[in-house]
């Protein structure tokens, strides 16, 4: 099964909670900044939506090292 890697830049994240609310199975917001619950996720367009929607552009999604989210 195809899987993508997800990262949250803790220095850029503003803790808006968008990612954790949209995909609690992938992201969590416990303190001031969000973290991926798991570094690798099943390919799912919603992950790209989340990366696009992040108001701080703090989320990066890569597929085998190639950056695919946020989309331009």
């Amino acid at each position: 099964m195809m899987s993508w890697d997800v990262k949250v830049d803790e220095h850029t994240c503003i803790g808006s909670g968008m990612c954790a609310a949209l995909m609690p199975e992938v992201f969590s917001l416990d303190g001031a900044v969000a973290h991926p619950v798991t570094p690798s996720v099943e390919a799912d367009e919603t992950v790209l939506d989340v990366a696009d929607s992040c108001p701080a552009m703090a989320i990066t999604v890569t597929d085998g090292g190639r950056e695919i989210g946020p989309r331009p």
Binding site: G17, A21, A32, D49, P72
Partner: protein, 408 residues
């Protein structure tokens, strides 16, 4: 009675919204200190639980038992909320539905707010700012004050949303007038005839706009949404609701953001000097303005789907929950010396754009508009100053100057 006395607010809480718009922050802070949740009555008579303070507000904005689904709320026979204009047919946009509809509708509009599209829009915003400032200078009579709201803070966001939607200047002026009439505060329970007429005019305009572009969708957000509608990714009702909501969310909020930011800057000449000397601080100054004076002091409609608990307080099913966004930025538990406006502050914590899935889609665009406004005003009008009294808006959902006389 002192601000720390929890009973001090009973009078104010009889009708929430019945408070001083010039400076509501003393009331907000006293209320926050008294507790995170308060049982209040809204201006239209509906009961609501007001949630106040940084942590409590974030908890509420992400709470799974709170819904924004306006149609399901209206189905409870007016017990939760009254129908507003233009009516339930225009309440199928991302801000009045829950996931998964919210996720779908937000996705369809989100493309227009992505980095590359906004970067492409940036020079145009800079040009619009320059044109408005030129018009201000030309239109201003020597030594007489000019209104910075009417001449700048109001037309800029409308021009930008016009760019996104492909709506020209003369139509922007008509729409702007109709929206101003539609949302003008009124005292009687029923909306006045002119508000109904304005609502009808907006509904008619948006319907004609979609019809005229249906067969040949334009390369803008309206075209994107029409293409999606033709592929059955959203209904016509959702398309029209979304256009209505994008215009509402895109103009008066940003007008107030720019207005509040400029008031802060002109009332703090030392901070303005700092920005002039250190223009790199403009983005941080925008965050500080959002923190100190949130243009949308209360989040939009939410209600409890079932009996639930927020910040330790029980909330009954079927009651509205009104989340205060403005007090969160001034919560001393989150920001040191919170009432001080300081453009050198780093890590200003605020929820002026909300929190969770409904975090403002247009936030990057609103930030961009205020950043460009600050850069231009600070550098091109170094003598800019307040020249008369500021009059504040009286609406509850948006706080900002209604008029702001300036000279330079």
């Amino acid at each position: 009675m002192t601000a720390t006395d929890p009973t001090a607010w009973e009078g104010s809480l009889g009708r929430w919204g019945d408070y001083d718009r010039d400076d509501p922050f003393g009331l907000f802070e006293g209320l926050r200190r008294a507790g995170p949740v308060h049982d209040v009555t809204l201006a239209d008579g509906h009961r609501a639980f007001l949630v106040i303070g940084y942590a409590a507000a974030r908890e509420a904005l992400n709470h799974p038992d709170l819904s924004k689904d306006m149609l399901s709320a209206l189905a409870r026979d007016g017990a939760v909320v009254d129908e507003g204009l233009p009516g339930p047919a225009f309440a199928r946009h991302m801000l009045s539905v829950d996931p998964p509809d919210h996720t779908r509708l937000r996705r369809l509009a989100a493309g227009a707010f992505r980095r590359a599209r906004l970067e492409a829009l940036e020079p145009r915003i800079r040009q619009l700012v320059a044109e408005l400032l030129d018009d201000l200078a030309i239109g201003g009579v020597a030594n007489a004050p000019v209104d910075l709201v009417a001449g700048f803070a109001r037309p800029l966001p409308f021009a930008v949303i016009g760019e996104l939607l492909g709506i020209g200047r003369s139509d922007q002026d008509r729409l702007s007038g109709w929206f101003a009439t539609l949302f003008a505060p009124h005292t009687c329970p029923e909306p006045p005839a002119e508000a109904v007429a304005a609502s009808d005019a907006i509904v008619g305009y948006l319907g004609d706009l979609v019809d005229s572009r249906w067969d040949a969708p334009t390369e803008d957000l309206v075209g994107d949404l029409i293409t999606a509608c033709r592929s059955a990714m959203l209904t016509r009702q959702e398309l029209l609701s979304t256009l209505f909501q994008l215009i509402v969310a895109g103009h008066d909020t940003t007008t107030s953001l720019i207005g509040n930011g400029l008031v802060l800057l002109l009332e703090h000449p030392d901070q303005r000097d700092t920005l002039l000397a250190e223009p790199d601080r403009v983005p941080a100054a925008v965050e500080e303005m959002l923190r100190v004076d949130a243009p949308v002091p209360h989040a939009t409609f939410r209600y409890a789907l079932r009996d639930t608990t927020i910040a330790g307080q029980e909330i009954p099913a079927g009651v509205q929950v009104l989340v205060n966004l403005a007090a969160a930025g001034r919560d001393p538990g989150r920001n040191e010396n919170p009432d001080a406006f300081d453009v050198r502050r780093t890590g200003a914590a605020h929820i002026a754009f909300g929190h969770g899935v409904h975090h403002c889609l247009g936030a990057p665009l609103a930030r961009l508009e205020l950043q460009e406004a600050l850069r231009a005003l600070a550098t091109e009008l170094p003598g800019l100053h307040l020249d008369g009294d500021i009059v504040w808006k009286t609406q509850m959902l948006v706080r900002g100057p209604r008029s702001m006389p300036i000279g330079w």
